[in-house]
């Protein structure tokens, strides 16, 4: 298997439904918490170290072969907002379709059978990495990066933010992305070493959860979450 598979999986154009989701950015923009490049960076930083870390650890654990059904339960327990659980499963289902078409695998088939309406996206992502012959680091990087690239591209559309500014934000976060990916993999290895899924990080961002609940009720919105 090839390391370049990581580029295929991490490509923002990988057709797995992410383009319709803002990762909470639409709610934050509406609430006036994200108004430009500086506040986008703060928003992304907060997301990276909370949701991003949790997702990356789940993905890394799935890539290591931890039981995805158990990981899905762990993801549920770490996602208080029902709207976010729905979004995560929707995206998991869409990713599952793209993954099975791209890297056919018995493990993906089995998880799809277990969750016909979708498992949590980071779990599917980790298993996809595994099917693509990638390792836990790759899965963690992919997931952590997605946690910030999604909101950044959404804010380009929402605020007509200069796309170069948004890209600079992502570049500035790169060293932190490294650290988050490292921590995520370490935690995932802890699961395998006998700690069980309870040792996975459970960092949370209450404003993302609260914002998502409000956003789900809006009559007019650009993004699905």
């Amino acid at each position: 298997m090839s390391r370049a598979a990581l580029f295929v999986l991490a490509d923002g154009r990988f057709p797995a439904g992410g383009h319709a989701h803002s990762g909470g950015a639409e709610a934050a923009v509406k609430a006036g918490r994200v108004t430009g490049a500086a506040s986008l960076e703060e928003f992304c930083r907060g997301r990276l170290h909370t949701t991003g870390l949790v997702s990356a650890a789940l993905a890394a654990a799935a890539a290591l072969g931890v039981d995805p059904v158990e990981l899905d339960g762990a993801a549920d327990a770490r996602t208080p907002s029902p709207a976010l659980r729905v979004a995560a499963r929707k995206l998991g289902r869409q990713l599952m379709r793209a993954a099975r078409a791209t890297w056919p695998s018995a493990e993906l088939d089995a998880l799809a059978r277990e969750f016909p309406k979708g498992a949590h996206q980071p779990v599917v992502l980790g298993l996809t990495a595994r099917a693509a012959g990638l390792g836990p680091e790759d899965a963690a990087y992919c997931s952590a990066y997605e946690s910030v690239s999604g909101p950044a591209t959404a804010v380009v559309r929402l605020l007509s933010l200069d796309p170069f500014d948004a890209t600079r934000v992502l570049a500035r976060l790169a060293p932190e992305l490294d650290r988050v990916a490292d921590r995520a993999v370490e935690a995932a290895r802890g699961v395998v070493a006998g700690g069980g899924v309870d040792v996975l990080p459970a960092a949370s961002a209450p404003m993302l959860e609260v914002g998502a609940e409000g956003h789900a009720g809006w009559a007019v919105r650009l993004f699905a979450s």
Binding site: P15, H19, A20, A101, A219, F223, A224
Partner: protein, 226 residues
């Protein structure tokens, strides 16, 4: 038109697969695209009214930032509510029908699972621009709807929708005298852009309404089930 290649692996429904996981043939999927306000939803509504007695139908709408199209169809009661689904498109309806069709595929499959068996699923794209076309992984045939009020030079300007759609509909012909659109010129330009591919001029305000488009849809279905 038939995309009858076999499953790459059991149980996975991928894009254009002509069969459902249980081996039965899936519904014919027809996409409707075209500029804002050209009459896509009105055409979908008229098709539902015309065909619903003889065929099992469902509709997926792709609104840009509201559920307006789905709500219009529900209000008009063109089909029972469980046969109408709205997909959210993240400010980019053409992405959801062309580059990343996963949400739309989920919607059509869920409709088949929940209210099937279906003969036809109509997929409407939120009004967009002249370059919006549907992926072959999502639909089997597409209709591009323009209207006479958007300017009679649109067929001449061409673009992927006008030139490649399986059917071009020029809608609102009743308005031509009021907006000074030359229908003869539109027909000639469409012919130049499309060669032998069909073009229908219609007014949903007229007696004939959607009849010709409905005939075309029936022919597509006959070919699909043949």
């Amino acid at each position: 038109m038939h995309l009858d290649h076999s499953h790459p692996h059991a149980g996975a429904t991928v894009g254009a697969d002509a069969h459902r996981p249980d081996g039965t043939r899936r519904a014919l999927r027809i996409g409707l695209g075209g500029p804002v306000g050209s009459g896509k939803t009105a055409t979908v509504a008229a098709l539902c009214r015309t065909l619903r007695e003889e065929l099992s139908l469902a509709v997926v709408t792709n609104d840009i930032y509201t559920r307006e199209d789905a709500e219009f169809l529900l209000r008009e009661a063109v089909l029972p509510p469980e046969r109408i689904t709205a997909v959210e498109t993240g400010a980019c309806p053409h992405t959801a029908i062309r580059d990343d069709i996963s949400a739309n595929l989920e919607a059509v499959e869920d409709l088949e699972d929940e209210v099937g068996p279906l003969d036809i699923v109509l997929v409407e794209s939120g009004g967009d621009n002249l370059t919006a076309t549907f992926s072959k992984g999502l639909v089997d045939a597409q209709i591009f709807v323009i209207d006479v009020a958007g300017g009679d030079d649109i067929p001449r300007k061409g673009g992927p929708g006008v030139t490649t759609a399986d059917l071009l509909v020029v809608n609102k012909t009743d308005l031509a005298p009021y907006v000074g659109s030359d229908l003869g010129r539109m027909a000639a330009d469409a012919k130049t852009a499309r060669g032998e591919m069909p073009v229908v001029f219609q007014s949903l305000r007229s007696e004939a309404g959607v009849t010709e488009v409905a005939l075309w849809v029936r022919a597509q279905l006959a070919a699909w089930t043949a």
